[in-house]
């Protein structure tokens, strides 16, 4: 048995199940595997990676059989208390946890506080409580209720209760300081209650790092959280809407410097491919997978190139990139021109299939994509479905966008592994505003 096998074998029997195996660090990017997740330690997540985004434990628009047309699914999925809190009583009576309740496939389940694709109203956080938002309105919870919820959800891992509202409004230093303190207090209380809860015997807790945009608070939060016996860390308050990437990168770098190397770092609310790469460089391992859903909701399809030829000398002989094959210029010169309503602004990584230019386009969404949508349908059909407001549009786009996004993460891991990170970044972000960068 190799050393690695032995450690996995031993780990299988350790109750503190989850373990991060780092294989490489390149330009700040950590490459590795998170193993030992789940009741019998059967799940492992490749890092950097993303969790499958769900609403009430269903990937939006997708029944299980359509979901499983995807060949590569991440080993972890995310649920949020926003979507589940109102079902507390039902889950309590059901007794066997939300994964079984939902008929979800055998995947590791991570439970976050909030749904990353929904904007929740702010201003309801107190010293002792946080609030989540279900279909019937606000649900307030103390640490006790929070843990009781986790006990009926039975995830494999959850983020501790946290005060993260600093990102949604301009917050004072005092407020940020309070958020850090509250979050630490909640963590301590949650950990105490957690260890008294038998249903959570096989469940891990992630501590949450707060601190808004104030460096000292971020560092303090990171250091203090790292002192607690948590299995990993959630970085909160860095959501895309809240902060410019440059500042985010600096703060995350400072935070991860304070965190133990051998524990995973998950970042909430960031999903754009360029921001993902920058945050991986700053030391993040795990992301929420909500971005494909947002793209779907605005009737768009991810199409950005992420293929980097493994051998630079073969580049001249390599087949044309995905976008070159499609003979396409980016559909968006300036994304601000293409605000598609409250589903967020379109990015340079996608095409807007509602656009009339796709009406007679009989090519797949992305040439060479192996997803169900691209293997079976063309752009003109999806365009038609969008124009006629047909439900199937959401199904097909969700399948494609998920497949494309997961492909991006696979390619990112490969790029780190082959130390081709610069080329990878250029490839992914080269579809630029104002056409400064050339497609070569």
């Amino acid at each position: 048995m190799s050393c690695r096998c032995v450690s996995r074998f031993l780990n299988y029997f350790q109750r503190g199940g989850m373990k991060l195996e780092l294989s490489k660090v390149v330009q700040g990017c950590r490459l590795g595997v998170l193993i030992g997740i789940g009741k019998t330690g059967q799940h492992s997540l490749e890092l950097p990676g993303c969790l499958l985004y769900t609403r009430c434990a269903t990937v939006p628009h997708l029944t299980q059989d359509t979901l499983h047309t995807l060949t590569y699914l991440p080993a972890g999925a995310q649920v949020a208390l926003d979507g589940l809190a109102e079902h507390h009583e039902v889950l309590e009576e059901f007794k066997e946890g939300v994964r079984k309740f939902a008929g979800l496939h055998d995947t590791a389940l991570f439970c976050s506080l909030h749904d990353p694709a929904t904007n929740c109203p702010t201003g309801h956080v107190t010293n002792k409580t946080v609030s989540v938002w279900g279909s019937g309105g606000r649900i307030e919870m103390t640490a006790a209720r929070f843990i009781a919820m986790q006990a009926v959800i039975q995830p494999d891992c959850y983020q501790s209760m946290a005060d993260g509202e600093t990102w949604q409004t301009n917050t004072s230093r005092k407020r940020v300081h309070k958020a850090v303190n509250r979050t630490l207090a909640h963590l301590d209380e949650c950990l105490t209650l957690h260890h008294k809860t038998p249903q959570l015997k096989h469940t891990e807790v992630f501590g949450v790092v707060e601190g808004g945009d104030i460096l000292e608070e971020r560092v303090r939060s990171a250091r203090e959280t790292a002192k607690r016996p948590v299995a990993g860390f959630v970085l909160d308050g860095f959501q895309s809407a809240a902060m410019e990437q440059e500042l985010r990168g600096q703060l995350i770098t400072a935070v991860t410097a304070e965190l133990p190397v051998e524990k995973p770092r998950m970042l909430q609310g960031v999903g754009r491919p360029d921001e993902v790469i920058a945050c991986v460089e700053a030391g993040v391992d795990l992301f929420e997978g909500f971005f494909p859903f947002q793209v779907t909701e605005r009737g768009c399809a991810l199409c950005f190139d992420y293929n980097v030829t493994p051998d630079p000398e073969a580049a001249a002989l390599s087949p044309p990139t995905v976008l070159e094959l499609n003979g396409e210029r980016p559909a968006v010169e300036d994304p601000k021109q293409n605000d598609v309503g409250n589903t967020g602004t379109m990015t340079q990584f996608e095409i807007n299939l509602k656009d009339i230019r796709y009406r007679e386009d009989f090519r797949p969404l992305v040439e060479g994509c192996g997803c169900y949508c691209c293997k079976n349908h063309h752009r003109a059909y999806v365009h038609h479905l969008l124009v006629t407001s047909e439900l199937l549009a959401g199904v097909l786009l969700m399948l494609h966008n998920t497949a494309h996004y997961l492909g991006f993460f696979r390619a990112l891991r490969e790029a780190i592994s082959h130390e081709r990170l610069q080329d990878f970044k250029t490839t992914v972000t080269k579809v630029d505003f104002g056409g400064r960068k050339q497609l070569h």
């Binding site: 609403r55 009430c56 269903t58 990937v59 939006p60 628009h61 997708l62 029944t63 299980q64 059989d65 359509t66 047309t69 979507g83 109102e86 079902h87 009583e89 039902v90 009576e93 059901f94 309740f101 939902a102 008929g103 279900g134 279909s135 009406r359 007679e360 009989f362 169900y372 079976n376 349908h377 063309h378 003109a380 059909y381 038609h384 479905l385 124009v387 006629t388 047909e390 439900l391 199937l392 959401g394 199904v395 097909l396």
Partner: protein, 398 residues
């Protein structure tokens, strides 16, 4: 089997699979995109899609034929584009059979009608307000572009609640339009034009229509002008009158019928093919069809009901999900609707398969009896029209 088109070959003599008691038959239709077992329920995919369900799921459910709407598709995306995409089959990537209606019914039910003349139906487009004239020739031209395996004549549709001379006028005109449609069909060998029997609830007019239309050598006949709000007692009498005078060797398509009881009774009366938006539409409201009625899954009573919709159902939804989960999911995501849609289609197709098997195995009357027993809590609640209709074909319920 039933012969369709001049090249259709008979697969099996219909007399082998006829119910000796009632007028029910079980046949095989040979169509360009595969065989279709009858009796058959055809789900409706109005705009080239079956509301949230992929063609792979539809195939998996065993669907052999479904519907597209000429009116909707003719408006968006239009026949020229669909032709470029290799017809509706190519456009939506459905490899099995398609039936398109003529567009006539939508115009009566959906659109502000300007006028019906001998020329065609004049209506106002809901998208740009333009006046459009749909003639028999144009309806067939659009359907030729769509490339569906069964196409419907343009008929002069009047509501079944209308009485007076308009009914006869519409019936006579429908005969003339049938001939125009047949003349206009560019692809008679691969697109099977069905006639539509009209005549409202007037037995004489319907008989006159039957006499005339059966003189034409069309591949099949639809029974039209019914299931539009008329009394059930009148409805079934017109159905059985129609099947009495339609040729045995050609399929009978009863348009717009889809409730389970109606399907079973009308099979007994001699109908082979049915379509209806009801099962797929009601699914989106959270209504799941079961052999004993329907479950309104959005209701609170299902919040903690951990069994599947129907423990005996083999669909993907029932094999994996509970009523409680579907109830919860309706608050969060559209997938809830898709789960029920899949289930309801499975329910309809399974029902038809069971009907068919019972006819082939010469036990259709027993099937009808046990079906009704399961559907209604007691025999007092059997709808009297259904009892009468079944009695008229020698099937007595307990």
């Amino acid at each position: 089997g039933l012969s369709l088109g001049k090249k259709g070959a008979v697969l099996r003599d219909p007399r082998d699979s006829e119910c000796p008691v009632s007028k029910a038959r079980a046949c095989v239709l040979k169509l360009p995109h595969g065989a279709v077992n009858t009796p058959v329920f055809m789900p409706v995919g109005t705009q080239g899609t079956l509301k949230g369900v992929t063609v792979a799921q539809l195939e998996e459910l065993g669907c052999q034929i479904c519907l597209g709407n000429t009116y909707h598709l003719g408006m968006r995306p239009g026949p020229e584009l669909i032709e470029k995409a290799n017809g509706l089959h190519g456009f939506m990537n459905w490899k099995r059979n398609l039936l398109t209606d003529s567009g006539g019914f939508q115009m009566v039910s959906l659109v502000e009608l300007s006028e019906v003349t001998e020329e065609g139906v004049m209506f106002r487009s809901p998208y740009d307000g333009r006046e459009i004239l749909l003639t028999p020739e144009q309806s067939i031209a659009i359907q030729n572009s769509l490339g569906s395996d069964i196409i419907m004549q343009l008929d002069d549709v009047v509501s079944s609640t209308v009485t007076g001379p308009r009914v006869e006028e519409a019936m006579r005109r429908s005969i003339r339009w049938l001939d125009r449609c047949a003349a206009a069909n560019k692809n008679p060998h691969r697109q099977n034009l069905f006639a539509i029997i009209q005549g409202g609830l007037n037995a004489e007019l319907r008989k006159a229509c039957l006499d005339e239309m059966t003189k034409r050598d069309v591949p099949g006949f639809a029974i039209g002008g019914l299931s539009g709000g008329e009394e059930k007692d009148d409805f079934w009498k017109m159905v059985t009158l129609s099947t009495d005078h339609l040729p045995r060797g050609k399929p009978r398509y009863l348009m717009g019928v889809g409730y389970a009881v109606d399907l079973v009774v009308c099979v007994a009366l001699g109908c082979d093919m049915f379509d209806c938006v009801f099962p797929t539409r009601t699914a989106r409201f959270g209504s799941a069809l079961v052999p004993w009625g329907s479950l309104q899954l959005k209701q609170k009573q299902y919040a903690k009901d951990f069994q599947p919709i129907d423990p005996e159902c083999q669909c993907a939804t029932c094999k994996r999900h509970s009523r409680a989960y579907l109830h919860a999911l309706f608050k969060s995501d559209t997938a809830a609707m898709h789960h029920i849609t899949v289930h309801n289609i499975c329910y309809q197709l399974t029902l038809m398969r069971s009907v068919r098997d019972s006819i082939i195995e010469q036990r259709f009357p027993e099937f009808v009896r046990s079906f009704m027993k399961r559907m209604f809590p007691s025999s007092e609640q059997y709808p009297s029209w259904a009892e009468d209709a079944l009695a008229s074909v020698n099937i007595t319920l307990d």
